[in-house]
Symmetry: C2
Subunit: 156 residues, 2 copies
DNA sequence: ATGCTAGCTTAGCCCACATAACCATTAGGG
DNA sequence: CCCTAATGGTTATGTGGGCTAAGCTAGCAT
């Protein structure tokens, strides 16, 4: 990708992503599913496999305290549980509970159906473009957070 | 777009968008530009043309109080100013200041360059896909917020 | 003036994120 | 064994952005 194209794409991301974010959050709020947008990825990640806090924080690109707090909130909701393995009692393994899986299903269905309503009018071409672009974003940003977690200033 | 495709795309959006959001926010924080991700679109919108609060809230898909607070924060930073037109003294017109334009340039450059660094390694095909997908998202979500902004309480 | 509507602000709350500082466990050396 | 790091999490504190509810001011109609 050429430099100008990259800048153009970057600018587009900056304008669009927050908007999408707010829209999703608003949909979920309206549906009575308050705490989803940030925790959805987390829950879905944990649903695939249990993880330690540090792993989760790194994968989600947030600080350890943030992750600890998020998990505490989810524990209070009964969506996940902390378990201390015997081999190394410093670490905490986070596992999804049955309630957590249910919530994931519910929230996912809710957000998806709202979102899908918006996306459905798209024609085949637009749909293909959208899915292609999302795939690229996934590729890029599931690698990025770990790398960008280390403090790096200057280099404007 | 078929129903399963729409759901698939929706699920992808739910997993990816928050991640992208956090990554951008983290980049900006690391660069010492705290308050950007949410305000960037706003500043850029105001930079194109002055608007009233209600207009801004509607365009950004947030509530009026939220917009009022955001603008207050930006006023304190000296990025925008409120002016009361004589013709109708209920409304408040928000205008970008010179400092606001400068900040916009700066933040934009910073975020763009970080983002562009991540995007640059993409080959031509991926770049095309990304831009196509972003275009579709823009189409979809610059129409959506107004529709989803209608008050709907009840809280499940 | 009374009352209604439109536009904005204030008050009070929640969530997500950050840093700094602290506690707990493990690993290594004397 | 005890002391010191280093590793992994949690608590304390602060910031920002989002919301609803309630209040204030300006215009408009009667």
């Amino acid at each position: 990708m050429t430099r100008p194209q990259a800048r153009e794409a970057a600018r587009a991301v900056l304008k669009i992503v927050p908007l999408v974010m707010r829209t999703i959050a608003a949909e979920l709020r309206a549906a009575g599913e308050l705490p989803a947008p940030a925790h959805f990825g987390l829950l879905s990640m944990l649903s695939a496999q249990p993880r330690t806090l540090t792993e989760l924080a790194s994968l989600q690109g947030v600080s350890l305290p943030t992750m600890s707090n998020s998990i505490s909130a989810m524990v209070q909701r009964g969506w996940v549980k902390r378990t201390a393995p015997v081999r190394d009692r410093r670490v905490v393994i986070i596992e999804v509970t049955a309630a957590g899986r249910a919530a994931l299903q519910r929230v996912g269905r809710c957000a998806e159906s709202h979102l899908a309503d918006v996306l459905r009018p798209l024609d085949a071409t637009a749909g293909r473009r959208l899915r292609g672009g999302l795939g690229v974003l996934r590729e890029v940003f599931t690698r990025a957070p770990a790398a960008s977690a280390r403090p790096r200033r200057g280099r404007g």
